[in-house]
Amino acid sequence: MKAQPFYKRLPIALLLVILAAALVPLAFRSNQYAMVLVTTVLLFAVLASAWNIIGGMAGQLDLAVGAYVGLGAFTAGTLLIRWNITPWLGMIVGGFVATGFAVLIGFPLFGFKIKEVWYALTSSALVEVLRVIFLMWNEVGGPTEVYLPAGTNPWYSLRFNTYTPYFYIMLVLLILVIYLNHRIRNSRLGYSLLALGEDEDAVEVLGVNSQAAKLKALMIYAFISGVVGGLYACIYGFLHPSFFSTAMSTEIAILGIVGGMGITYGPLIAAIFLVSFREFLRASLGGQLEGLYLVVYAVLLILIAMFQPRGIAPLVYRGYQKVLALIGWRRHGQPADAQSH
């Protein structure tokens, strides 16, 4: 396994998708709405792929992505507003702030062996706690929207007039996160996480420190979410406590679940299909009745969960294998469901 260069371990389809994605802005250059859409898809894909590390692999149903995104956004935003520090740096600092918070929360949470629904609910509550705290914290804006300065050099203040640069930055983040997912999955940490997602006690007996493994997964996930949060603030151009969103946190977890728990490309596939479907519905139905697109979207989510409980990624993967077989190029020694354990 180790001897292979990493590009050989990536499916060809992924490289094609990345290549196609990189060309998207050229096609939509004049269409800002399409750029907003694809950037949103990427944003959700990055977050859901990061969630896959703690949620999919380790089986910890984390609903706190909004907390880490919000912390990252407020860190990067406040650094830029107060001290004119570039968000490039602010994003990293935001990532570390989010990681610090994750350690603060994760250490007792995993130490007291809080699991399943209770873990989900505590993490969800944390988002709301942070939202209220930031609502009352007037030094960073309180309930008002605080705007990020545009600055003279858009590359310094990361404030662009178009979505294209954000799209590319997000695409780079996505590739990094997917690669990270891939690496973790084939590492000692990844095996520990996957195993403890199945049966924690058995893993402990085998000598794996499950608390440390979960904490590591949580830290990685929080760091990525914090970095994305910094970028999030720049894209929207303001800071507001509503960034600590329980709805967004739940949605990211749902993308991870319906994509296929623990499958590297699951969240990406789910984000591409579901987020663009939702935005398409919003565009086509939003004008007639506010909220109608969400009804359709919710019905779709329910149907996937009911009839495809292992996620849509195995479906897509099987389709991909069929296409390969059709064009007469089949990989050897790889059963069709190797990715979906």
Binding site: L121, A125, V129, V132, V299, I302
Partner: protein, 287 residues
């Protein structure tokens, strides 16, 4: 000062008993079926809107609206169970979570379509008003709501302990396979459980509408509140549920009175997180 404290405690106790009633529906669904219902708070929201509709169309008092909304919500719960949950019971809990989250989005956006984003409230209820006891101001609406809530919690306790269906529910909660062998039809038992869980939110919705307004996202608050009460109480103890409801209600009013009205949920969440960390089975949990 002492008067303010007593005042807060009394208001908190009365609100807390209503919270206990809301959490009771969640508690029996989670306890009996082991289903994580993320949409529970939105059932409350839906109930409140239905009470609003019944109250405006029929010109009924909010307190009387459960006469209509309770059967409606019961049927809604049973249908939801058979349509969505029955076939996924043996799946991972994340699948049920995904389904109930889908249901939550569905109910919330349906409410947004039907009733728009403005908050809705009913006319003054006949239980509106207040009286004074020893310098303490008591809101009649809260007192009546708390009394009715206690009544319903008592009725559920009677149902669970004294009737065949209730015993079947408890048996299914303890050991589903053994209960099935003893002739408990678990599909029907679970449908009944989910129906009752939904119907209880209709009672609470009617009571809440007598002194509160409702909006499409109001369910979030009730959902997390009832999970908090449930975490505090643990499963299987009705008196524990009432006491936990009261603790949550008092914590909420204390946060409003002594800290900041915006922080009302903060105190609740902090209790929630601390209890989960320190006493994961709850204060009164049987298991």
């Amino acid at each position: 000062m002492l008067e303010t404290v007593t005042q807060s405690i009394i208001t908190g106790v009365m609100m807390g008993i209503i919270y206990a009633l809301i959490a009771l529906g969640l508690s029996i669904v989670f306890g009996v079926m082991n289903v994580v219902n993320f949409a529970h708070g939105d059932f409350v929201m839906l109930s409140m809107y239905l009470s609003y509709v019944a109250g405006t169309v029929l010109v009924w008092d909010a307190v009387a609206t459960p006469l209509i909304t309770v059967p409606f919500l019961f049927v809604f719960g049973v249908v939801t169970y058979y349509l969505l949950l029955d076939r996924t019971l043996r799946h991972l809990y994340v699948v049920q979570l995904a389904i109930t989250v889908g249901l939550q989005i569905l109910m919330r956006s349906a409410a947004l379509i039907i009733w728009k984003a403005q908050p809705r409230a009913l006319q003054y209820s006949f239980i509106q008003g207040s009286f004074e006891v020893g310098g303490i101001n008591i809101l009649t609406s809260r007192l009546a709501a708390a009394a009715v809530s206690l009544l319903f919690i008592g009725a559920i306790a009677y149902f669970l302990n004294k009737t065949w269906a209730g015993t079947g529910m408890r048996a299914a909660s303890d050991d589903l396979d053994a209960a099935s062998l003893m002739g408990v039809n678990y599909h029907r038992t679970y449908a009944l459980t989910f129906g009752i869980g939904a119907a209880l939110t209709a009672v609470a919705g009617g009571l809440l509408m007598s002194f509160q307004q409702t909006d499409p996202v109001g369910g979030v608050r009730f959902g997390l509140l009832s999970w908090c009460v449930l975490a505090l109480a643990g499963l299987g103890s009705l008196p524990g549920l009432i006491i936990s409801g009261i603790i949550v209600g008092v914590a909420e009013t204390f946060a409003i009175t002594f800290f900041d009205p915006r922080a009302r949920l903060l105190a609740v969440y902090l209790i929630f997180i601390l209890v989960l960390w320190l006493k994961p089975r709850g204060l009164f949990g049987r298991r």
